[in-house]
């Protein structure tokens, strides 16, 4: 990691309150309270074939408009270590800014702990990318997500469809970079390892998470990733560690993904 990227990451992480009780790599039917703004950051490293690397840091700002309505903006930063002509030698660039409006349509609190929530969301990816890390078009998307927590078990399921109106990335990296529309279908399971039962004390909780993150394009390309992770969640912060292992990839003109790593820190106010 270059000093520039590391410095940027450290600065942002150190200043970042965020949101918890979410899977590491997919949406959740959670939202900030009305009038509350929540920044969040995630840093990732992807290893591709032939020792090619990609570093990504995504900044998110989420704001509660009303009790069940929130808006969010995601801005990714990339640093590429690919073979030319893709971004190489640590070339730095912005990705596409994503704006999202999320509405919680179901909140069923069953008892002290258990709850079922569902949200729908819609938004667009804007062509803010630089140095080959972004598309050339405004791409609208819509989707839905369900989150259920029963005792020590949590389950998330989400579906999102993105209409790609332009040509995608000149040199695609992921399946979602192609000029074809694509769908993201994700499933996630979280198990609270500690504590077995909550008490009256303010303690952190350790979760083991397992996600299936998939992308399917109408052109026939796809990625299926298995994503195990660990989440430490306390009242005022959360730490997350994750892996992404490709189970199946079918992509054209894109490097083969070998492994993804995720390290995140969230500070919660």
């Amino acid at each position: 990691m270059s000093p520039r990227f590391a410095g940027c990451a450290l600065l942002v992480v150190a200043a970042t309150p965020a949101f918890a009780q979410e899977m590491l790599n997919m949406p959740a039917a959670t939202a900030p309270s009305p009038g509350v703004a929540i920044p969040r950051v995630q840093a990732r490293a992807y290893l591709f074939e032939d020792s090619q690397w990609l570093l990504e840091q995504t900044l998110r700002l989420e704001y509660g408009i009303a009790r069940d309505l929130s808006v969010s903006a995601d801005l990714p930063f990339f640093q590429g270590f690919f073979d030319p002509p893709r971004p190489s030698d640590g070339e730095f660039g912005l990705g596409d800014l994503e704006l999202n409006l999320e509405l919680r349509v179901l909140r069923e609190d069953l008892n002290a702990i258990d709850t079922v929530r569902a949200s729908v969301f819609a938004g667009a990816e804007l062509p803010t990318g630089t140095n080959g890390f972004g598309g050339d078009s405004v791409d609208p998307f819509a989707g839905a997500v369900v989150t259920a927590i029963v005792g020590r078990h949590g389950l998330d399921a989400s579906a999102r469809y993105t209409f790609v109106t332009g040509d995608g990335l000149f040199l695609p990296i992921f399946a979602s970079d192609t000029p074809d529309d694509f769908a993201n279908l994700d499933l996630g399971y979280a198990f609270r390892m500690f504590p077995e039962e909550y008490g009256e004390e303010r303690v952190g909780a350790w979760y083991a998470t397992l996600e299936l993150n998939t992308t399917w394009t109408v052109g026939g390309e796809h990625e299926v990733l298995l994503s195990p992770g660990l989440l430490l969640e306390a009242p005022s912060y959360a730490l997350e560690f994750g892996l992404q292992v490709p189970l199946s990839e079918e992509r054209v003109n894109a490097p083969e993904l070998r492994l993804g790593l995720l390290l995140g820190l969230r500070l919660i106010f």
Partner: protein, 124 residues
């Protein structure tokens, strides 16, 4: 996955979202039925100075404590909340000279993302 299937799923998702968003926006700006039911169960009037246990559903993670803290502290006269996640109870103190409304407490819990089902006065 067939392209036509994918497109159909995408269009269905978008259609549902476009229907749900404006409907939901309108309902959140007025008052959703669950909120009315919650307020009815909590009653109206104000809380006299003293200690109260709020019975709350849906606090499923440590972060919930922060959300509840944040919203309750916005109510004038409500002291430092103490959350018992196991039993779903939030203990609060109403300071002398203050009289927060029951509705404000219910709204704060709902804004935090949870459901208030009862306010119990703790005997001195």
């Amino acid at each position: 996955m067939q392209a036509s299937t994918l497109r159909a799923c995408g269009l269905a998702t978008v259609a549902l979202t476009l229907v749900a968003l404006p409907t939901g926006c309108a309902s959140t700006q007025t008052a959703p039925s669950d909120r009315n039911a919650s307020l009815a169960a909590i009653g109206d009037g104000t809380l006299a100075p003293g200690r109260y246990d709020l019975v709350v559903r849906g606090m499923s993670c440590p972060k919930c404590i922060s959300n509840v803290d944040l919203q309750l502290k916005r109510i004038d006269g409500v002291g430092e909340p103490k959350v018992d996640m196991k039993n779903g109870v939030v203990a609060i103190t109403v300071r002398d000279g203050s009289a927060p409304s029951r509705a404000a407490v219910a709204t704060a819990i709902s804004d935090a993302g949870f459901t208030l089902t009862e306010i119990r006065e703790v005997p001195r």
